[in-house]
Structure formats: structure tokens, C-alpha cells
């Protein structure tokens, strides 16, 4: 067993398109070790999201293999994948992805429900702690519609870590934020890796954020470039 949280070997993904095929990823190899803040870099269309989806068990590679915490994803059935996503993974999406009918607290709590953590004082504490971490503990009763985009995204981050996953996958979480807020969010991710020992894989095309990364994986036209 290696201590790589993510290990990708020769991942290739081909989509059928009208009149042929489109290769989104070509033999990607990548390794991210525990507690790392890794950035997946590349222009739009470079294959970032495809790779994220495969790592997030939402999609399967046409060829190659991905291991999460040493487990080969290919062998997992739907149920096992869901369990993996519920317990070991946290997701942050580009656009507002909070459940509109739940307030900030309930949104964060929701990921813990999903992970099967029973209601308790501790659970409530953990929710507060996560919201405090993103600096929104005083707004936890607010509904998503009553918060700004940046605030919503921070709630989404709190949500993604509440159930103490091994790996957070953040797909363009800063795309809709201004540069100051983007830097703040990036900083938050970095903090998570330090304080909670979580591994974070974040995609972005914002060059200004690269400085925070422990490791950068760069894609261009579906191919990894080592630079």
C-alpha cells in the first residue's frame, strides 16, 4: 500500500461524438499524497473536469486505472461508489450547489447525515466548528438565497469537510468569485490540509492561485505536461 490518496495510471477517456470519437484524456498518470493541496491546472477543454469526474467516481476511464486510498475504482459497484463518495470524498462545485431549502447549518449537517453520522451534540458541534473554520459561524441560520456567492461557496467548503473525508474534490470553486475571495477560498483549502490532514484536489485556470499549491498537475488537450 502506498500513501498516495490518489493514484492515476494511464487514464484515457474517449467520448463518442457525432461522426467519430473525441479523446478527452490521453494516458494520464498522477499521484497525490496524503495531506497535499494539489491544483489541477489547465485551460477550459483541457480535460480537467473529466479527470475530476473520474477521480470522483462519477465517471469511468475508457482505459487506465484510478486508485483512491489504494482501492481500485474500477472494481466498485454503484453502491460501493456511493459509499465512497458519502464517507471519504467531499465535493465543492463551481456554482452555487447548496440545497436552497436548507440554511447554512443544515446544509453542512447534511453531508454528515449522508455519511451516516447520527444526530448528536457532537455532530452539531462539528457543524459549528466547520462553519467557524470558513468564518461563517455567525450566519449559520441564513438561507443560501440570503448569502453572497463567496459566502455560499464557503458554506459549500464547510459542507465538504464536515464528515471528515479523506479527499476533497473542488471543481473550479473560485470561478465565480472575485480575486480577493478566490485567494481566501484557496487559503482555506490549504488550511484544511494542514489542520485536518485532508487531501485537496482543486481545478482552476487562475494562474494567481498556483502559489498556494503543494503540487501542480497541468493538463493540455488531455495530456499531462510536466513543466
Amino acid at each position: 500500500m502506498s500513501d498516495f490518496v490518489i493514484k492515476a495510471q494511464g487514464v484515457t477517456r474517449v467520448f463518442p461524438v457525432p461522426g467519430g470519437e473525441f479523446t478527452a484524456l490521453k494516458g494520464i498518470d498522477a499521484e497525490v499524497s496524503k495531506g497535499t493541496f494539489a491544483i489541477l491546472k489547465g485551460r477550459s477543454g483541457s480535460g480537467k473536469t473529466t479527470l475530476m469526474n473520474i477521480i470522483g467516481t462519477l465517471d469511468d476511464p475508457t482505459n487506465g486505472e484510478v486508485f483512491i486510498n489504494g482501492t481500485a475504482i474500477k472494481g466498485l459497484n454503484e453502491k460501493q461508489r456511493e459509499n465512497l463518495r458519502r464517507k471519504e470524498l467531499g465535493f465543492v462545485f463551481q456554482s452555487v450547489s447548496l440545497i436552497p431549502s436548507l440554511n447554512a447549518f443544515q446544509n453542512v449537517e447534511f453531508s454528515m447525515r449522508m455519511a451516516g453520522i447520527k444526530p448528536s451534540k457532537e455532530r452539531d458541534k462539528r457543524v459549528e466548528e466547520c462553519l467557524r473554520l470558513v468564518g461563517l459561524h455567525n450566519r449559520m441560520n441564513h438561507m443560501p438565497a440570503e448569502m453572497s456567492g463567496g459566502e455560499q461557496q464557503r458554506v459549500a467548503i464547510a459542507r465538504s469537510i464536515a464528515h471528515s473525508p479523506k479527499l476533497i474534490l473542488a471543481d473550479e470553486p473560485t470561478a465565480e468569485l472575485d480575486s480577493q475571495m478566490a485567494a481566501r477560498v484557496t487559503e482555506l483549502f490549504k488550511e484544511m490540509t494542514r489542520k485536518e490532514g485532508i487531501t485537496v484536489l482543486m481545478t482552476t485556470h487562475d494562474v494567481g492561485l498556483m502559489g498556494a499549491a503543494d503540487e501542480i498537475i497541468e493538463l493540455e488537450n488531455g495530456v499531462r505536461i510536466y513543466g
Binding site: 462519477l58 456554482s95 450547489s97 440545497i99 447525515r113 449522508m114 438565497a145
Partner: protein, 933 residues
């Protein structure tokens, strides 16, 4: 702009298809009303005429005029009469059926030229009937010739058989008027060419039957007019009588007013006024008009809730569409379009949809009208009985109104949405306020109003049936009360529904899985969005149940009543000839008809003699007479062919008959003897027939109901007000009655074999030459009950309304859920990504369906039942006929309810199925990407 509109519509094609569907249904429902009404009225008018013609044995559509003129110079009056038929048909614009035109000389003495003794000084008339040869057959001799005169100038005549006997004329004989000469002084000579009778196929031609023409020598009318009218008229006394018969089968309801007015003018003001008699068809029109006034408002009001539902549907769908197009609208606005331009865009779109809907809805409306006319029962059609429908001017007015209402429902929501800009849109998304009706307590107000209505109608319930009897249609408030009650109760349920959901959530707080948790939260926080669709569901179901109950109750009660009043399948009373002694004084004895012939009636399963004397009497204190009905029955036979429902009597009907059977002088009395006159069991009662013969009976029981007996009788006084009168009944043994009263005319009550037809009975009557003085046939009574436009129209309107609302409900419900999923695709993607299984998402949706759909269904069922129990008994009185004898029964047919539940269940399953299909096609990665655009 037109292109933008079409593009926009194509983009939201399903929504627009739904709007179109709504418009088509609304238009069709609205248009079906005038089309059905005019067709049903046509039929009703025809029925009225038919009834008159059959019951009176006379053609109802007839105008009769007659004039006698003495030695008029120039003969203008006769000429004018001659012109009458043409004048009549032309002014009335009706189709000629028959014209019976008789002109004759007043009676004077004629003598045979053979000088035979009994051929002298006969009192006779010479006359002529237009178009007679086509309607007569010659029994002997021949018809007068085309020239109408013999070679020596005598007038050729034919006579009827009765005339042949009466005057004793002979065929081939010449007659001469004793004291009457032509203007030039010549003798008036007549030659009898033959004897005639009415031709078999002459129909209603012979308004004066040949038998009645027993002193008439009939000649060629041209000859008659040439020799006795015009310039020659100054010498003669003439009688001219004319009957014009027009075809009522071609009459339309819309002709009634015109014909009434013209007729009025004809016999009151026109130059013919002195010669015309008031025609019978005015009575037919009058009774037709009474029925019409009862029906038209009733049917219209019944449709109102259905139309309101349709308009709400359109409003709902278009609101939903604008909700979806909010972003587009706000973008268009921020690019500088004015509010007016946006409304205009939607106006064009609305016009496009509503006009298309109108064009398609019109023929569908005609189809609806046809269906209305073939309704046999709730949700039951007999397509073999179709109505002749036609588009009337009225139906186009209704069409325009319908299109306008559709347009309003579609465009009005756009006015609200046209104000939205991006900024406001974001603000409004955050806002969560109570609905306006909740703040106004509209639900409580509506409930209050309807309950007030309920109490006030209940209080003067008795008056209600009188109002109806007097030919007025019912207070619209009564119908509206029930709809208002449903609306109020529905809104009230919406008010408390969130608390119910919250309560359920709290009860199982620690047990809900993540999916259920979200759905609870979703409903508690966003439940208000669903209020419209929930209200729609509640209204559909409760109105459906209410309407089903109304229709069933009205119909079943009418059927039961008809069945009860008929007593048995067929009742025949023959003409009993009373015997007179040699001085001509009636003996009170009769020629008893042969009873054994009834054994030969193949359609009869059994038959029994029943004395039914409604002119019997009892003496009260002070020797005052009280008229009663006395029945004499053979208990065993009578019991085997009659039935009274157990619930109507204190004990089983057969127990009463059994009790009667064992006491020779026993009588059963109607309950009102007990309640009004204080009779007790064991009392003896003396009753007389109208010949003062009496019988004494021992009271052995009291019955509220008995086959054919109605405890009260409703009718109209001369001044048009309604009255109610008690009927009293004494049931005795047939044999006992005969032993006391002597031979008494009886009726024969007949139970028919299973598949017997009315015509079988009729044929038997004809074959056996039975002279019938009373004839009751349940089959034909039932037929006329079922085809009464008031009943049929009500059933039809309610059935159509039910079908239409179910369709709307299904479509509306599906649309709502498909929209609500599409809106939340991103969230579902997020949930799936975070590890929620498809089945859990499905659980979420099922929960939502329960909170929204199932709750509404249950509420709808409850409200429907409650409304039916409260309001149907009141409403039923509006339909109770004049001879309503049985107490009202509230009929809820389980199968109707199951049908309703099945349809609703199917709709909800379908909705779930579609949702599941959408969900399974929804790719998580794609759903997420959608959010990234």
C-alpha cells in the same frame, strides 16, 4: 417580433401544447353549452308536440279558421279565405304538412230526380275539399272527374258511407236543389258518382272525418268555386273552413318566439283575427317554455366551477411558463425593452394559442354536445342516441367569450412578470411571505359565506321545491355555495398543511434518512410554491366527488321514484261498460271483461287484479267526506310482483302483506291516517265507493309507502302558486271488497318477462281489441325520465366536467412535477455526486408527491364527501319532480369513487413514472455541467 415569438414558443413547446390543450378544452366546454342547449331544446320541443299529438290524438301544430258568409257581393271574404293557407305558410316560414280546406253551401233541401218517395226533400250540403282525390279511396262507383261535371252540366259528387246511410242517396242518381238556383236562374243539378272513405295513408289530412260528413255531397273544388264563389257569391250562403297543419319536426327552439308572436298577431290583430281560433300549439309552447326556464340557468350554473377550473389551469400553466422565462424576460428588459413590449410579445403569443384553440375547440364542442345528449348515467354514454347538433349564432358568441377568457388567463400573469428585472428577480427569490389569501383569511371568509348559505337554504327547504314547481330556476347562490365551500375548505387545508408536515417531521425527527430530511425541509420551506397545484388537485377531486354524487343522487332518485310510482311493469285498465236497466238508469253493474285473455300475453310473467279506486271516501265527524284511495289486492299475487324498499317501511313489506293476508276484513292504512286522524291498530274504518256502497275494515297496520302511492301531491293553483295536498290510502282484500261493494272495475297489474319490449304489450292490446282506459308502462316512463333534458343535461354537464377536470388535473400535475425536477436538476446532480443513490432521490420525490399529491387527494376526498353530505340534499330538491313520492336518498356509488381514485392514482403513478424516467436519464456529470454554463 413574430419570429421571436415562434422561436420562444418552440423552445417551450410542451408548455405551449398544454396551454393549447387548456384553451381547446375550455373553448369546447363553453361552446358545447349553447350547442347542446339548442339541440336539446329542439328535441324537447319536438317531444312536447309529440306528447300532445299522441295524448290528444290531434295534430298540435294546427291553425283552424272558419267563416260563414251570406250572399256577399263580389265574394271577397271567401277569396280571402282561399288565400289563407299560402299566406300562413309564407308568413310563418313553416313547412306545410297538410291543408284541409272545406268549402260548402249551407244545408238546404235537395230532391232526387227519380221522384222516388224517400229521395225527396233531403237536407244536405254541397261542398268541396281541396286535394281530396289523393286522400280518399273509392268504395263503389268512381271519383268525380277532372272536369267535375257530367256531359249535361250536372256537378259530379261523391259521398261518404255515413252520408250514404244517412241520406239514403244512390250512386248514379241525379239530385236538384229544391229552392236554390244558379245566378242565371238555372237549376242546380248534382250527380252522385261514387262512395269514398279516407285513404289508408291519409295521415292527419281528414280534420273532419268522412263519418262526420254525413250530409255532404262533395264535388270538384274548381267547379264549386267557379259556380258558387266570386261574382256568383251574391246568390249563396257559404261556409269556408280551413285547417293548416305544419310540420313540427322541422321546428327549432329558436322558432318558438317568432311563431308565438306571429300567431298572436294572426289571431288577435291581423285581418283574419275574426275567423281564427286560438291554436293548441300555444299551449305546447307554454309548457315548453316552463321547462326551458328551469333548465337553462341550471345547466349554466353547473358549468361555472368547471370553467373556473379551466381558467385556473391556463393561469397556472402560463404563470409556470413565465416563471421559467423570468431570466429571459429580465435579460430582454435589461437590454432596454419596455414593459409594454414584453406584454405585447406575450399578447401575440396568447392570441396565437387562443385562436388556434378556438378553431380546434369549436368542433370538439360540438362533439361534447353530442356526448351530452347521449349521456345515460354518470360516466355512461349511449352513442346510439345522438343529438342533431348544429352551430348556432349563439355558439359563436360563446366561442368569442371563451377565447377572450383564455387570452386573459394567459396574458394577465405576464403583466406581473413584465416588471421583473434581474435585480428584483434576485431579491424576490429570497423573499418568503405568506400568500395574500392567507393574510386576508379568504379561506375562513369563504367557508363562512358558504355555511351561511347552507343554513339559509336548509331553513326554507320546503319553499325550495315550491319555487321549482312554479317553474322558476333555482337560486344560483345554492350552486355557488357548494363551490365556494369546496374552495374555502381547500384553502383552509392549504393553510394547515405545512403544520401537518411539520408535525410528521417532528414525530420522526431522528429516524428520517438524509433524503427524507431534505424533502421535509423542502416542503416546509418551499411548500407555498405548490399551493396552486395542490388547490387544483383538491378542487378536482372534491368537485369530482360532489358532481358524481349530485348526478347519481338526482338520477337514482328519479329512477327509484318512477319505478315506485309505476307500481309494477304494466298496468292496464279496460273500459268497463256499465249496464243500464230498460229505463236507461244505470244499475251499478258492469259487463265484466274477459280476464282469462291475459294468459295469452306472452310478454307477461304474471298478472293480478287490483281494484284502484281514487274516488272512494270515508265519513269524518260531522258527516264531512274525506276522499281516499282504496286498493283491493290479492296479497299473494300482488306481493310477488311488487316491492317496497325495506328502509321506507317500519317492517318488511311482505310482513305487512302477510299480516293482511290472515285477516279477512283487514286493511292497511297510509301513515297519515295515524298522524293526522289518530287511527290506531285494531280500529275499524268504514269506506264508501262513489255509489255509496260501503265496507268496514279492521286496521292491522300503517304503511308510509305502498306501490304506486304518493303520500302528498304537489300541484299548481290557478294563480300559479304551488300547493301540497295529503293523499290517503286504504288497502283491502280484492275479494272482501267485491263482496261488500259488488262488482268493481279492476286494473290488471302485470309483471313482464325479463326481455319484454313495450311493443309486445302494445301488439297484444291491439290483437285482442282491448279498449284501454288506463295504461301505465314502466319502460316508457323510465325512458322519458332518463331523456328529460334537465336530468340528462345535468348528468352530461357533470360527466363532461368530470372528464375535463381529470384531464386537466393529470396534465397540470405532470407539468408541475416535470418543471420542478428540471429546475432542480443541478441540485439532484450535487446530491448524486455527494453519494445519494438514485433510489434515495426517488424517495425524495415520492415524499414530495405524498406531501403535495397524496395530501391533496386525501383532503379532496374528505372535502368532497363533506360537501356532498351537506349540499346534495338541498340541490336534489331542484330536480325532484312534481310527483316526487320517495324520500331523498344520498347516493354515492362506490364504483364512481373507485374510478376517481383509480384515475388519480394512475395520474400520480404516471407522474412518478415520468419523473423516474427523467431521473434515470439524468447523467450526474451532465447535470453538474449544466450548472457550470
Amino acid at each position: 417580433m413574430f419570429r421571436i415569438m415562434l422561436q420562444k414558443m418552440w423552445h417551450k413547446k410542451w408548455m405551449n401544447v398544454c396551454l393549447l390543450l387548456g384553451c381547446i378544452l375550455l373553448t369546447a366546454t363553453v361552446v358545447s353549452f349553447p350547442i347542446y342547449r339548442s339541440a336539446a331544446y329542439d328535441r324537447m320541443l319536438n317531444d312536447e308536440f309529440e306528447n300532445y299529438t299522441i295524448s290528444q290524438g290531434k295534430w298540435a301544430a294546427l291553425v283552424y279558421g272558419n267563416v260563414s258568409v251570406k250572399k256577399e257581393t263580389g265574394g271577397g271574404t271567401i277569396k280571402k279565405m282561399d288565400d289563407f293557407p299560402k299566406y300562413f305558410y309564407d308568413t310563418m316560414g313553416v313547412k306545410e304538412k297538410e291543408t284541409f280546406f272545406l268549402i260548402n253551401l249551407t244545408s238546404l233541401k235537395i230532391s232526387s230526380e227519380t221522384k222516388r218517395k224517400d229521395g225527396q226533400g233531403l237536407t244536405a250540403r254541397l261542398g268541396a275539399i281541396n286535394n281530396m282525390p289523393e286522400h280518399a279511396t273509392i268504395l263503389s262507383g268512381e271519383m268525380y272527374s277532372d272536369t267535375g261535371v257530367t256531359e249535361d252540366g250536372a256537378i259530379e259528387c261523391v259521398v261518404s258511407q255515413s252520408c250514404l246511410i244517412n241520406l239514403g242517396v244512390l250512386v248514379g242518381e241525379y239530385f236538384t236543389y229544391d229552392d236554390l238556383r244558379y245566378k242565371n236562374g238555372e237549376l242546380i243539378r248534382m250527380y252522385v258518382t261514387g262512395v269514398f272513405d279516407a285513404a289508408d295513408n291519409s295521415g292527419y289530412f281528414w280534420q273532419t272525418k268522412p263519418e262526420a260528413l254525413n250530409d255532404m255531397l262533395l264535388c270538384n273544388p274548381d267547379v264549386f268555386r267557379e259556380r258558387f264563389t266570386g261574382d256568383n257569391a251574391s246568390k249563396f250562403s257559404l261556409v269556408s273552413s280551413v285547417s293548416v297543419l305544419f310540420d313540427y319536426q322541422d321546428l327549432k327552439a329558436s322558432d318558438v318566439e317568432r311563431i308565438s308572436k306571429l300567431t298572436d298577431y294572426l289571431y288577435k290583430e291581423s285581418s283574419y283575427r275574426s275567423v281564427l281560433k286560438e291554436p293548441a300549439y300555444l299551449d305546447v309552447f307554454a309548457s315548453y317554455n316552463i321547462r326551458v326556464s328551469r333548465i337553462s340557468t341550471t345547466l349554466l350554473i353547473l358549468q361555472i366551477p368547471i370553467l373556473a377550473m379551466l381558467a385556473t389551469f391556463l393561469f397556472m400553466i402560463s404563470s409556470q411558463m413565465y416563471e421559467m422565462e423570468k431570466n429571459e424576460i429580465s435579460v430582454i428588459k435589461s437590454r432596454g425593452s419596455s414593459k409594454g413590449q414584453i406584454i405585447l410579445l406575450y399578447l401575440y403569443q396568447g392570441l396565437f394559442i387562443t385562436i388556434t384553440g378556438g378553431i380546434l375547440g369549436l368542433p370538439l364542442g360540438a362533439l361534447f354536445a353530442k356526448m351530452l345528449g347521449s349521456t345515460r348515467n354518470f360516466l355512461e354514454f349511449d352513442l346510439s342516441e345522438t343529438l342533431n347538433v348544429a352551430y348556432t349564432k349563439e355558439s359563436f358568441i360563446y366561442l368569442c367569450a371563451a377565447v377572450f377568457v383564455c387570452l386573459l388567463s394567459i396574458v394577465v400573469p405576464s403583466i406581473k412578470h413584465s416588471k421583473v428585472s434581474i435585480v428584483k428577480l434576485k431579491q424576490s427569490k429570497a423573499a418568503k411571505r405568506k400568500a395574500w389569501w392567507e393574510k386576508l383569511f379568504l379561506d375562513i371568509i369563504l367557508l363562512g359565506v358558504s355555511i351561511y348559505g347552507y343554513y339559509s337554504f336548509n331553513k326554507n327547504g320546503g319553499n325550495l321545491s315550491n319555487t321549482v314547481l312554479e317553474g322558476e330556476s333555482l337560486d344560483p347562490l345554492l350552486y355557488i355555495s357548494s363551490s365556494v365551500f369546496i374552495l374555502g375548505a381547500g384553502l383552509f387545508f392549504l393553510r394547515i398543511q405545512p403544520y401537518i408536515v411539520r408535525l410528521i417531521y417532528l414525530i420522526g425527527k431522528n429516524h428520517w434518512g438524509p433524503a427524507s430530511h431534505v424533502s421535509f425541509m423542502e416542503n416546509i420551506k418551499n411548500g407555498r410554491k405548490q399551493q396552486l397545484i395542490m388547490l387544483f388537485l383538491i378542487m378536482t377531486i372534491s368537485l369530482g366527488m360532489y358532481h358524481a354524487t349530485v348526478a347519481r343522487t338526482i338520477l337514482e332518485n328519479a329512477i327509484d321514484n318512477t319505478e315506485y310510482l309505476a307500481g309494477t311493469d304494466v298496468i292496464i285498465k279496460e273500459n268497463w261498460v256499465e249496464l243500464a236497466d230498460r229505463y236507461g238508469v244505470s244499475t251499478g253493474d258492469y259487463v265484466v271483461p274477459n280476464y282469462s285473455k291475459y294468459n295469452s300475453m306472452e310478454a307477461a310473467q304474471m298478472h293480478t287484479k287490483v281494484i284502484f279506486d281514487d274516488k272512494a271516501s270515508i265519513k269524518q265527524s260531522g258527516n264531512e267526506m274525506l276522499f281516499v284511495t282504496v286498493m283491493g289486492i290479492n296479497t299473494k299475487e300482488f306481493g310477488t310482483q311488487t316491492m317496497v324498499d325495506r328502509s321506507l317501511l317500519d317492517k318488511n313489506y311482505y310482513e305487512f302483506l302477510n299480516d293482511l293476508a290472515v285477516v279477512e276484513d283487514g286493511v292497511l292504512l297510509s301513515k297519515n291516517f295515524q298522524t293526522i286522524y289518530g287511527y290506531k291498530e285494531g280500529d275499524s274504518i268504514t269506506f264508501y265507493n262513489n255509489k255509496k256502497k260501503y265496507a268496514i275494515g279492521t286496521v292491522i297496520g300503517f304503511v308510509d309507502y305502498f306501490p304506486g302511492y304518493s303520500a302528498t301531491e304537489n300541484g299548481l293553483n290557478a294563480d300559479g302558486t304551488a300547493y301540497t295536498k295529503d293523499n290517503f290510502l286504504i288497502v283491502s282484500h280484492y275479494d272482501y271488497l267485491v263482496s261488500k261493494w259488488g262488482t268493481t272495475p279492476y286494473e290488471v297489474w302485470i309483471k313482464l318477462v325479463e326481455d319484454a319490449k313495450e311493443i309486445d304489450v302494445y301488439n297484444w292490446i291491439v290483437d285482442n281489441n282491448v279498449e284501454v282506459s288506463k295504461y301505465v308502462n314502466k319502460i316508457s316512463k323510465m325512458e322519458s325520465t332518463l331523456s328529460d333534458p334537465l336530468l340528462q343535461g345535468t348528468n352530461g354537464v357533470l360527466t363532461m366536467g368530470f372528464v375535463v377536470t381529470i384531464v386537466l388535473c393529470a396534465v397540470g400535475y405532470l407539468i408541475y412535477w416535470v418543471m420542478s425536477i428540471r429546475e432542480r436538476e443541478l441540485i439532484f446532480g450535487v446530491l448524486r455526486a455527494t453519494g445519494l443513490h438514485k433510489s434515495e432521490i426517488m424517495t425524495m420525490l415520492i415524499n414530495e408527491q405524498i406531501f403535495c399529491g397524496l395530501f391533496s387527494v386525501l383532503a379532496g376526498i374528505g372535502i368532497g364527501k363533506l360537501t356532498s353530505t351537506l349540499f346534495v340534499p338541498i340541490l336534489q330538491q331542484a330536480y325532484a319532480s312534481q310527483d316526487q313520492a320517495l324520500p331523498m336518498k344520498l347516493i354515492m356509488v362506490a364504483s364512481d369513487m373507485y374510478r376517481l381514485y383509480a384515475v388519480i392514482g394512475l395520474v400520480m403513478l404516471l407522474a412518478l413514472g415520468v419523473l423516474a424516467a427523467i431521473l434515470s436519464r439524468m447523467n450526474v456529470t451532465k447535470a453538474l455541467k449544466l450548472g457550470e454554463e
